[in-house]
Symmetry: C5
Amino acid sequence: MKRSKKEIGKKVGVPPGTLIYTGDKREEFEITAIDYNASGYRKIKVKDIDECASFKDPSTVTWIDVVGLHRVDAVEKIGKIYNLHPLVLEDILNIHQRSKIEYFEDYIFIVLKMLTYDDKSHEIEIEQVSMVLGDSFVFTFRERKLDIFDPIRERIENDKGAIRKRGADYLLHALIDIIVDHYYIILEKLGEEIEGLENEVITNPSQDTVQAIHKFKSNLINMRRSAWPLREVLSQLSKGDSHLITEALIYFRDVYDHTIQAIDTVEMFRDMASSLLDIYLSNISNKTNEIMKVLTILATIFIPLTLIAGIYGMNFKYMPELEWRYGYPMVLIVILVIGIGMVVYFKRKKWM
Amino acid sequence: MKRSKKEIGKKVGVPPGTLIYTGDKREEFEITAIDYNASGYRKIKVKDIDECASFKDPSTVTWIDVVGLHRVDAVEKIGKIYNLHPLVLEDILNIHQRSKIEYFEDYIFIVLKMLTYDDKSHEIEIEQVSMVLGDSFVFTFRERKLDIFDPIRERIENDKGAIRKRGADYLLHALIDIIVDHYYIILEKLGEEIEGLENEVITNPSQDTVQAIHKFKSNLINMRRSAWPLREVLSQLSKGDSHLITEALIYFRDVYDHTIQAIDTVEMFRDMASSLLDIYLSNISNKTNEIMKVLTILATIFIPLTLIAGIYGMNFKYMPELEWRYGYPMVLIVILVIGIGMVVYFKRKKWM
Amino acid sequence: MKRSKKEIGKKVGVPPGTLIYTGDKREEFEITAIDYNASGYRKIKVKDIDECASFKDPSTVTWIDVVGLHRVDAVEKIGKIYNLHPLVLEDILNIHQRSKIEYFEDYIFIVLKMLTYDDKSHEIEIEQVSMVLGDSFVFTFRERKLDIFDPIRERIENDKGAIRKRGADYLLHALIDIIVDHYYIILEKLGEEIEGLENEVITNPSQDTVQAIHKFKSNLINMRRSAWPLREVLSQLSKGDSHLITEALIYFRDVYDHTIQAIDTVEMFRDMASSLLDIYLSNISNKTNEIMKVLTILATIFIPLTLIAGIYGMNFKYMPELEWRYGYPMVLIVILVIGIGMVVYFKRKKWM
Amino acid sequence: MKRSKKEIGKKVGVPPGTLIYTGDKREEFEITAIDYNASGYRKIKVKDIDECASFKDPSTVTWIDVVGLHRVDAVEKIGKIYNLHPLVLEDILNIHQRSKIEYFEDYIFIVLKMLTYDDKSHEIEIEQVSMVLGDSFVFTFRERKLDIFDPIRERIENDKGAIRKRGADYLLHALIDIIVDHYYIILEKLGEEIEGLENEVITNPSQDTVQAIHKFKSNLINMRRSAWPLREVLSQLSKGDSHLITEALIYFRDVYDHTIQAIDTVEMFRDMASSLLDIYLSNISNKTNEIMKVLTILATIFIPLTLIAGIYGMNFKYMPELEWRYGYPMVLIVILVIGIGMVVYFKRKKWM
Amino acid sequence: MKRSKKEIGKKVGVPPGTLIYTGDKREEFEITAIDYNASGYRKIKVKDIDECASFKDPSTVTWIDVVGLHRVDAVEKIGKIYNLHPLVLEDILNIHQRSKIEYFEDYIFIVLKMLTYDDKSHEIEIEQVSMVLGDSFVFTFRERKLDIFDPIRERIENDKGAIRKRGADYLLHALIDIIVDHYYIILEKLGEEIEGLENEVITNPSQDTVQAIHKFKSNLINMRRSAWPLREVLSQLSKGDSHLITEALIYFRDVYDHTIQAIDTVEMFRDMASSLLDIYLSNISNKTNEIMKVLTILATIFIPLTLIAGIYGMNFKYMPELEWRYGYPMVLIVILVIGIGMVVYFKRKKWM
């Protein structure tokens, strides 16, 4: 993950309720409303934000998807029409929030983190999605027009599954479910990565492996940081404290189970990554040990022999051995015997 | 354990309630019903799923064992006959669930993980078993026809123990008890393994030992991941919140005690495995230390001697010592004295 | 952070309620009162402390900012006028308190830690701010006249935001919000620092890096120590147990969310710092390994060759090879062959 | 502790309530009943188990001590006479239970682990003691006839302390107190051991020390595993939920305090043992460092000197220095100067 | 801290309520009673224990300080006069208790650990102080006559602070406050120590540093072991569950805050000490690395040169170079070039 100043997550020195978009300036801006019930369906590209007021009709469920948070004015207008608290609007625009859920009298406000995995940089990208669940509507606010919610749109359009027959709470569940799905996609990627790392550590460890493990661990730390608050949100939702969530309750329980399982997997990966580093270190220690053995064996064999050769290279006038007929071959034999003896000794000591 | 993409545990991008089998395609498909009460017993191979409806009779306890989850249609039909919630059917077919328990009005739904140990690969294999406890029936759903439940079948057939005299809740207990038993079998295997590893680390440590410890730890991580949710399920069951569990309550408490003990053992093994790695590392450090000592002693003794021999090998015209009658033996004596002196010095320093 | 005896945080051997200022003697002493409501605003430099009594008027909100705790007498007088408990006054003067909140009948007493980051020494400086929230007034007590609260003063002066329209609880919230903001500023600094450290560890690690990591960790330990009690205080405030906090409740919840996020970030940084040290150590081990390889390769190649040269440097009378016409080039060839052979061998062993 | 398959703790594949003794076959079998009240005392060696029925008389307290669990029939008979649940009997016979307490209508069932320390093997031996507290009787079931309960027997016999004047709950307390006492005896042994290890690590560390630390840690792991459930049992007992425990309640609270203290000590020892291993490792690293210094100093001094000697050992025809009158002493002086210079250099670098 | 058998903390094999003093036999024995109310004060050296009965008068507060627990008879007599439970008396005499609080009908019994720091041995000494708070009296029982409570005595004597105007609960608070104060004195000492260790690790680490860190950690472990139960006691006291504690409640809350802060500091020191050991180890690794570099550079430069000198020291008859006019200077130049080339190479590799 790229860490930048902005991600720390709080605007500094600004009165609460001040609407400031904390992300990067972008081009995209689009409001799409999907209005449906069991019998009908309509999709509207909203041009004038005042149109939104018309979706309040409780006989149909409306999903209003707002892309492009740099248009602070639009968010503010929607807030006024739907009577959202200024702090809610502020949180929607501040894209560095912690995932959370807040209950208001007529609506529930939810902030979630959408994770995607960049295959090239091996980094996890985080995007914030804010949701407002009302009586008969769901708002989704996000920065970029990613296609993550397309399957839901399709299900509504084609009347697939039960979605058209059910209320706004079921729609909310479907949207959150898609987000949790993406956590699983990333867990799959991470699962493949750790298998690769495990292999690398055992067969061909290098300093790059350590850095890859470090990156992997950083990714896990980021996953955890997103997954735990997500779990809290879903725990809240599955308790059924709000009158806005009725028939979808059991589905939220289901998603809650999935977030627990995701967290379990993240923790498992962490344990494994720590274990990998231990193996790496023991591997290096082992190798150093092996190298030292080679050096020591070699030095132990040759250094004494060099001394013998050195002695008979001295220029003393009176060195009787030098005159001997078989002095030279005898010294060669002595050298050989000592050399072989050393090898035998080291073999016994299991150093060779 | 083999980690594969599927085991991450969630179908991505599919509306809830969609019935999809997430395991491998298999051949086996078999539904066996065992119908009994204190006075009688009958075992039926179910051909037509509609027959199942006849087992609803509350005067006998019926255990319907469904093997082969690839037959989604069969599971769906059973679901209809016995009025099971679509999410329950989905969970039965998704074999990568976390163990859990869910209470419905007329039945309890339980997902458990069955563990078996592959003696060859030293890996733990995980299979999912789903159970539904009703008024007078228990369903078990599983992928493969393993013989784990045979002892129960036999006990019913031969009227061994109290099982025939009791209700469906007692049958459920017996089935879960068998599953927990298999956790103990694996703990035994792991216990033997860690004893072996302990021995290896102390007597003959190698890089393979580290890998074996790593594998052992991975197995423990998997055990933990299965055992904790199992514990939660049994904790729930032993609280007696459901009207479906009456006389078997005390037995569930008993199994609950066993799961706690199993988790205790897993945690103990983890502590031990970590400790083993520490010993291994200190062992390697020690050995490197020993090798360095040998090298240093040797070099310290012979390098100065080699210098002496080198000096008297120089070809200066005027080197009075070279002319001395006893120059050569004197040098030899000097060499010996220095060499022996060094040895004495190192003995004193306790390096030899 | 500078650790000094005083920071341990408790006066020893003094009866409770004894008013002693535990900080350094300073020059600054200033009491500023800001009195406002929706329609008006006035700022008074308080000369005579008895004037303070006049601010009790509930129709306006008054913020009385006391700078300079060495004037124990002034604090005592204020305490008498506003009927503060002796222990409260003692806590205000003892600048080494843990952050805390205490509920009294007509007021709430809060102690917080203000953090600032010294860019030169890379140390976090801690200053204590005590606050008293009454019906229509807020007291702030602090040692030094830093400009941290200036934005609030400006907002009141210029009627920016909702602050003038709201009560004393909202003012308290604004003050605490500014303090929490400064935690985020420090987190930004620390975020930049850890990015730098990460870079250093990978590209150019040295013993200084380890010391920098140690300093970074010490800073985190200090952050944690301040952030956790801060969180407790805000958790209390956002529960709404007091009649003094009414409309600002939701704003305290907001600040509470921010403190949780700040703690999350601190914990993330700790995990990363630990991971960095592991990388550093593996890096050093790796380098030692590389160096040993170079030494061993070199010694293994040259020491045997030196022996050969030594043998033919011996002065035996009868060494037939010395007389050979091509003895010298043959020895050179042997030396070359052995040398090259060794290099090939090491290449194969992947040591070169 | 000897780890063996049996200790994993569960009989596999057996219907609940099946009475199987899971320990080793032994010879000892003995039932001793002690019947007392304030005015009288009698001790009976029970021959025929049916005699036990006579002890039900509520005017006296009876302690029935059953040694030898291989006599499954005897245990079963007692169970029938005193109306014990089949699961209780099963737990009594399965000597690999986790410590636990279970409340029944007319009795409380307790399983505890008795620890003894084998001075020779430095291992902790574990024996299971099961207890049943009724209205006016206490049963103790155990495998071997150890003398641990003798002090209690003596106190009853000699009317020492208040034991004769009190009820069965007080007797139970006295028995458990003795068991907890033995935990303290082991803690004393472990305390002595860690003092010894601490000494060894600092003065004379070796690979054996590491193994001793490992064994010590294994013992602690076993202690913990027994002590935590013991604590839970005593926590239960000291809550006073049962009508069977009345006047002894305060005594159970006392024992509960002791188990907490025991656990504290175990955790303290664990921290110390981990710390010892760190010291050991740093000690080894330090030593390797020292050895490397010696080698490097030596090599740095002598290798260059050897080169000088080697140069003047070359056989070139035209080497003017060789002809010089004072060439040889000059070279010797150069050698000495370089040698001494090196030593001075290393002294400055604080390597010597 | 000196660990001795006795400190494990439990008398083994003795019936509860048996009064045995578990400390060392000492000479000192003294009972001092201080009797006061707002209007008067009197201090009595109690000779005959029966005098104690006279202090029961509820119109004055009495503090009875008993020094010298070896006089079991005296403690027993006091117990009888003031109607203390036998277990309380036992706990007073057993000086190896865990800190705890126990509520009785007319009194509260408190055991605390008094810590003092021995400047010479750098060890923490622990002394037990037992307290009994009644309606209008406070008992303190301790082994040795230390001067820790002198400030309180003085405050009463000189009517300093509010102590004379308040009840027995306020006196108890003052006594406990003094004990907590001494924790802070030790924390100051430890704070100085860790600053020293930090310095040592960075500037001049040695094996002694590791031992000092170990001792420091042992001291922290002891601090924790005393501080956590102390915190529990104060948490209890500040809850106000007893009718004996009324007006002093807020003061107990204050002391409770201080114990939390003390524990925070202990935990901070632990984190720092662990971090120090990491720095030490990385320091040693770094040094070994540096030493290896020196050795390797030296060997790499000189060993090949020695081979060259060795080659021209061979005694072959036909070695044309030896006859060359400029053979010798050419070889010297070759040696120089290779040597300098190596140095340049190592400089580039940043080894020098």
